[in-house]
Symmetry: C2
Subunit: 203 residues, 2 copies
């Protein structure tokens, strides 16, 4: 039983939480074209972090679009709200001392900057690490695992990022992964090195 605990009034601070759980929180925000490898890298990173016994959780289309954001469509206003909510939920995870991994195209700089600003405004601020998964359009269009690019080229999908809607590449991401130069394992190592070098996780 918890009878040896002396409660103090008020909430546990972020520092106390980090001390008790042995880790700090952060959001690692992957952005890139469809089929660039965001989800694959985020999934592998989540594995690597969990195998270090670090609490980590991936937000992706499967658990967000069919859950929290199932009320949202794909019109411009809904797309903004989609990313806003993902930013807010990643902030909750980061403030819980977890490592939140988000894997969404998030093509607009303004939407990503809003998510970043939520972390900057938190008291105390929480790390927001933008990871640009940079794959050439020709390559992802060649891959096209779900046939989406073909449909977009045929006009069957409208406003498809990279074809008929813009992708605003991050001008200054914390991490820039060029997928023609590193494989998934290499990408994971780059992110983990960043987390270690910046004192977010231990070596």
């Amino acid at each position: 039983m918890a009878t040896n605990i002396t409660f103090h009034p008020g909430a546990v601070t972020l520092d106390e939480r980090a001390e008790l759980l042995g880790q700090r929180g952060a959001t690692i925000w992957f952005t890139g074209l469809s089929a660039s490898g965001k989800s694959t890298i985020a999934t592998a990173l989540e594995q690597a972090l969990l195998h270090r016994n670090l609490h980590s959780f991936r937000l992706d289309g499967d658990n967000i679009r069919f859950g929290l954001n199932k009320d949202l469509g794909f019109d411009p206003q809904s797309r903004v709200e989609n990313i806003r909510r993902i930013g807010e939920v990643s902030l909750l995870f980061a403030s819980s001392s977890s490592l939140a991994l988000t894997a969404f195209i998030s093509p607009y700089a303004a939407d990503r900057d809003l998510a970043r600003s939520l972390h900057a405004k938190h008291s105390p601020p929480l790390p927001f690490i933008e990871v640009f998964v940079d794959a050439p359009l020709a390559v992802v269009e060649q891959r096209d695992p779900k046939g989406l690019y073909a449909k977009a080229r045929a006009g069957e999908i409208k406003e498809f990022t990279g074809i008929s809607a813009p992708y605003e590449a991050p001008p200054n991401p914390e991490i820039h992964i060029k997928t023609d130069q590193v494989d998934v394992k290499g990408a994971v190592e780059i992110v983990i090195k960043y987390l270690i070098d910046n004192g977010i996780i231990k070596a």
Copy 2:
């Protein structure tokens, strides 16, 4: 570096995650009148769980109403959506192998049942533990730490739970805390005993 990790394709399962992190996830959903003690008990429980080195996070008005749900008002539709989103976010925390604690009045059985059903439908299902913080109206109205009951009685706040809007007491909560019989510490011990007895945390 993570070079000793062999990645397997796909996501980490809930069982693997629980094994790696040493804990299972669950949502502990507090419900009760304003000033019944939900937040106080949830805050103390969070402390107790963190001091057991268990990942736990409290969702409450402060981090939800001013963040994820700041676009929502207090009309009936917004109240439903407020609780739906809290249910979805608590599910994300529970599926991350965290213990999500929610502390909202959540006066309507239908809204709480929706949150419960999200956990039941998850594959695999995740525990949803409804905790009824049962304080007599006369007592909470006497406490009235924010003067809300006085304003509701004066008609300055409309549709105030317990005064001018219903509170639908859970007919069959997993845990029923009668605040005239146990103090905060006792309430925390009841919840922790439940978590241990049901194999959610270790003794």
